[in-house]
């Protein structure tokens, strides 16, 4: 009845925000059907489209992770007008996911998360296209990530966040005066939860701090000293880690421990119980053993829903400008009352990942081998076993062996030639860096400038287009 009078649109509620002008909105907000079109990627061709809209007409969003946050993000984005989503996750569904990863059912256990999550959301929300990628994030070409206008992160590991952050920041280019070039900015929204707590943040590389700029927000995990485990265990966790880290190797030699192998876990549990009995220590349970060995982070549906919703809302704002953007870090704590707080962190201007990059001046004659050797000695890098990438092209790769062999001949060539004889450009180096006396994988950006190459005299005007 009511439908006859005023035909309803599926975007009845969203239209209010996207089609109406507002005062508290982003600087790029052009309310109207075109904003809606760009989000949903409807092929409306209109000469009235602003540059902004045209730039974003091919809008695609990548959701990284199809777990607690990822499932929510896919649903939230699909119900916020987004039509083209991709999701990447290497995991398969487990029973312990079911208390919060609402797109999965008991019969899905063992199937790839990305595939089931994409299927379930598409079944429910018509018109949305979700492409699943059952893959490790590291196994995708860097160019894969360049296909997306914005990346939403639903991850539970710092390492994975660092990786995606490095990739997204890797696309960033700077002008001569060190201002980021707008079209190369790949914004990210990132969420994380633990129990009743969580955070949501917006990362606009080159504009707001990247993950690496504020890495101190994630202090390293406290590990037990080996001598405590071996000599003076005092609690159940010490007994478990003894069984897991010391006893396993003593007994099984080279066979590596697999936390997803129930028999391995049972063995560690039994050994931990024996050790606890020996020292009179209470509290070793199977559940605790799993918690300690797998470093299980407790997780509930509500916190994931809250944090994902905040991330999806910010994604909508970034692409449409329909309201102000979170500046730039939201913390949520629902354990003791309810506290939400916004903190505006500042960029680290010298950040190796999102900054303009480390300037390296080279002679045109320097070979790739020489260049790789230099990286190891460079005080800001201390990067060993480096692989080198120039744009899409790998110049050298340390692994796998097949590719190493393929690229080996490059080592004796000059970097200048390999980079197409340009006077200056960005290269990415990936290797093992020494940070805080610990070896870590590191992806770093370098701005290479060749001394004495053509165009040096007018480098301020000639380069950067």
């Amino acid at each position: 009845m009511a439908d006859l009078e005023a035909p309803q649109s599926k975007s009845r509620d969203l239209d209010k925000l996207l089609l109406r002008a507002g005062n508290l909105v982003g600087p790029d907000f052009y309310p109207g059907t075109e904003v809606k079109a760009l989000i949903s990627q409807l092929s409306i061709v209109s000469s009235s489209f602003s540059d902004f809209v045209i730039r974003l007409l091919s809008l695609r969003v990548l959701v990284v992770g199809a777990g607690g946050l990822g499932c929510e993000l896919l649903k939230d984005l699909a119900l916020s007008g987004f039509r083209n989503l991709d999701v990447i996750d290497m995991d398969r569904i487990e029973v312990t996911n079911l208390n919060r990863q609402f797109l999965f059912r008991l019969e899905d256990v063992g199937k790839p998360k990305a595939e089931i999550a994409a299927k379930r959301v598409m079944e429910r929300v018509s018109g949305v296209e979700i492409v699943p990628h059952f893959s490790r994030i590291e196994d995708k070409e860097l160019e894969f990530y360049n296909n997306f206008n914005i990346i939403a992160l639903g991850l539970d590991s710092i390492e994975a966040r660092r990786y995606i952050n490095g990739v997204a920041c890797g696309f960033l280019e700077y002008d001569e005066d060190d201002t980021p070039r707008r079209e190369t900015i790949k914004p990210m929204v990132d969420g994380g939860t633990e129990g009743f707590k969580g955070h949501a943040r917006v990362i606009v590389p080159g504009v707001t701090p990247c993950f690496e700029c504020t890495i101190w927000l994630f202090p390293p995990q406290v590990k037990f000293p080996l001598c405590t485990l071996a000599e003076t265990p005092r609690n159940a966790a010490h007994c478990i880690e003894y069984a897991h880290l010391i006893k396993w190797h003593e007994v099984h030699g080279g066979k590596s421990f697999d936390p997803d192998e129930p028999e391995h876990m049972k063995w560690v549990y039994d050994e931990a119980v024996k050790r606890a009995e020996l020292f009179g220590i209470p509290g070793v349970t199977y559940s605790l053993t799993q918690g300690v060995v797998k470093n299980i982070i407790p997780a509930i549906a509500s916190t994931n829903a809250i944090i994902s919703a905040a991330c999806a809302l910010e994604t909508l704002k970034i692409v449409s400008g329909c309201s102000k953007t979170l500046a730039n870090y939201l913390t949520y704590n629902g354990g003791e009352g309810l506290h939400t707080k916004v903190t505006e962190f500042v960029r680290d201007k010298d950040c190796l990942v999102c900054g303009p990059g480390i300037l390296i001046e080279l002679d045109t004659s320097v070979t790739l081998q020489k260049f790789i050797d230099m990286l190891e000695e460079h005080p800001k890098l201390l990067l060993s076993k480096a692989s080198v990438k120039h744009g899409k092209d790998s110049l050298y790769m340390q692994a796998p062996p097949v590719l190493e062999e393929m690229h080996r001949p490059n080592l004796s060539k000059s970097l200048y030639d390999l980079m197409g004889r340009v006077q200056k450009d960005t290269v990415h180096v990936f290797g093992t860096a020494l940070k805080n006396e610990e070896k870590q994988s590191s992806l770093t950006k370098l701005r290479v400038v060749f001394k004495g190459a053509d165009g040096v005299a007018d480098m301020d005007t000639a380069i950067g287009a």
Binding site: A2, S9, D15, F102, F196, S287, G334
Partner: protein, 523 residues
């Protein structure tokens, strides 16, 4: 592990078997299953709440497909409650799910006794008039109530319960209960068996810091007329004294002792918050006292008698550098004292129960034990009736917030969320609900908001025009992401209220989706 237990593993690590059992016994009623209600309920169904009952009289419209995950194209024209119920049931077959196709506003008027069957009611998207009526009904029936509303980029969550008492409040940071400033005889005599001047360096660096600090505190008080360090200089001097006992720089136990030295300086006795709870009028036991207040009465007696000013000992100690033997002995001493304190409290609880005419064993041992363990962390939350808040809110709070940059957006939304209901009562639509006539709606909403402020006693307060414009732009829309955020918060509050763990929010939470300067307002 059996499947149901495994399924809940990640949450059992948070609220344990007891919390889970409470959830599984709870029956939850949801009023209105738009996205806000559906999302709130989704999180509870996943967690394994006992039963849900959805009350909604509307049919699924095309527009609902764009904001609600618990409907789909095949459900258009059908009961929204039915569709949401079916899709929610899919998430967890252990939950008993049913629906009632009826308008909640009508049900509140025609069948108030309907609500008394539930543990808790989640009331979403109700206008002020229905909120006030439902609040009275639930107070009367002793049913917990959580109000939720999302409105454009704004919204609120408000808990309404007469009294919510918490034993296991699980605070984030809480000083451990070591009694370094007030050691009991058994701890003292254990400390005396350990020689700080032991010559074996391995033994020296494995003396637990508890032992070091008790010894040093004793040494200090002997030379300071029985007083512990209190001034800044004395505290520094004390730390230096501890440091002077190190025989090598790699002694972690001494480093821990210096870091934990503040525990020696901490004031003795119970905190002002626990003091306040003991002085509450409810701590005079009577035949209708709840278990919680009976135990508080016992605690009060304990503190002024056996406890010598202190609450019962918690009984656990943090990990610290130590030999296994010292550590385990220390653990046993703390546990023994906790057990002794528990027995005293238990006896007192029994006597009180007898006195008020109840079965002396009607409060179980594990509950008394948990009470003793958490005696320093007890919480009592009381909530105003919404009617009281609506007619007589704290004027100073409103004015203070409107003048504070961080709070003005949230307080502005609080006023406007109420103003839109007045607007609706007058004009039969929400401001900006339909396209066209926006300018008129804006000026009408402004007039309505200002008259509301005047009625509340905030003459002269103004709201920014931008915020009023935004409110009209929102046009009563229910955005999925806002609904998911606010519904998520509501479900989290429900979990805290049902499990009686953690601490629910006190006040009205206003969501500000523009810049996320959301605030908890104490009105």
């Amino acid at each position: 592990m059996s499947e149901p237990k495994t399924k809940y593993d990640r949450q059992l690590r948070i609220w344990g078997e007891l919390g889970q059992a409470a959830l599984e016994e709870a029956s939850i009623c949801l009023l209105n299953c738009g996205p806000t209600g559906s999302e709130a309920l989704k999180n509870l169904v996943l967690g394994g709440v006992g039963s849900i009952t959805i009350v909604d009289g509307s049919k699924v419209e095309i527009g609902d497909l764009g904001n609600n995950f618990m409907v789909d194209e095949t459900s258009v024209g059908q009961s929204k409650a039915k569709s949401a119920c079916a899709f929610l049931q899919e998430l967890n077959d252990a939950v008993k799910a049913k629906f009632i196709e009826e308008n909640p506003d009508t049900l509140i008027i025609t069948n108030p006794s309907f609500f008394s069957q539930f543990t808790l009611v989640i009331a979403t998207q109700l206008v002020e008039d229905s909120m006030v009526k439902l609040d009275r009904i639930c107070r009367e029936a002793n049913v917990k109530l959580v109000f939720v509303r999302s409105y454009g980029l704004a919204g609120f969550v408000r808990v309404s319960v007469k009294e919510h008492t918490i034993i296991d409040s699980k605070p984030d940071h809480f000083l451990d209960d070591l009694r370094l400033n007030n050691p009991w005889p058994e701890l003292k005599s254990f400390v005396e068996t350990i020689d700080l001047n032991v010559s074996d360096p391995a033994a020296h660096k494995h003396i637990p810091y508890v032992v070091i600090l008790v010894k040093m505190a004793d040494e200090w008080t002997r030379s300071h007329n029985g007083n512990l360090p209190s001034t800044r200089e004395e505290k520094k001097e004390f730390k230096d004294l501890v440091k002077s006992k190190m025989i090598s720089m790699d002694e972690d136990n001494y480093k821990e002792a210096i870091e934990a030295a503040f525990k020696v300086f901490a004031p003795r006795g119970i905190s002002s918050e626990i003091q306040q709870i003991s002085n509450d009028s409810c701590s005079e036991p009577s035949s209708n006292s709840s278990d919680f207040w009976v135990m508080v009465a016992a605690l009060k007696e304990f503190v002024s008698n056996e406890g010598d000013g202190e609450a019962p000992l918690e009984g656990s100690i943090p990990d610290m550098t130590s030999t296994t033997e010292h550590y385990i002995n220390l653990q046993k001493i703390y546990q023994a004292k906790a057990e002794a304190d528990f027995l005293v409290i238990e006896e007192r609880v029994k006597n009180i129960l007898k006195k008020i005419g109840r079965d002396s064993s009607s409060i179980s041992k594990p509950i008394i034990k948990s009470f003793c363990k958490n005696a320093r962390k007890l919480k009592v939350c009381r909530y105003r009736m919404v009617e009281d808040e609506f007619t007589n809110p704290s004027v100073t709070e409103i004015q203070k917030c409107l003048a504070d940059e961080d709070y003005s957006g949230a307080m502005g939304f609080y006023i406007l969320l109420r103003a839109v209901d007045r607007f609706t009562a007058n004009y039969n639509k929400f401001p900006g609900q339909f396209d066209g006539g926006m300018d008129e709606d804006i000026s009408r909403l402004k007039t309505t908001a200002l008259s509301l402020l005047t009625d509340l006693g905030c003459n002269g307060s103004v709201l920014p025009d931008d915020l009023i414009n935004e409110m009209c732009r929102f046009g009563a829309s229910e955005l999925h992401v806002v609904a998911a955020f606010i519904g998520g918060i509501a479900s989290q509050e429900v979990i805290k209220l049902v499990t009686k763990q953690f601490v629910p929010m006190l006040g009205t939470y206003i969501f500000n989706g523009i810049d996320h300067k959301s605030q908890l307002l104490a009105l």
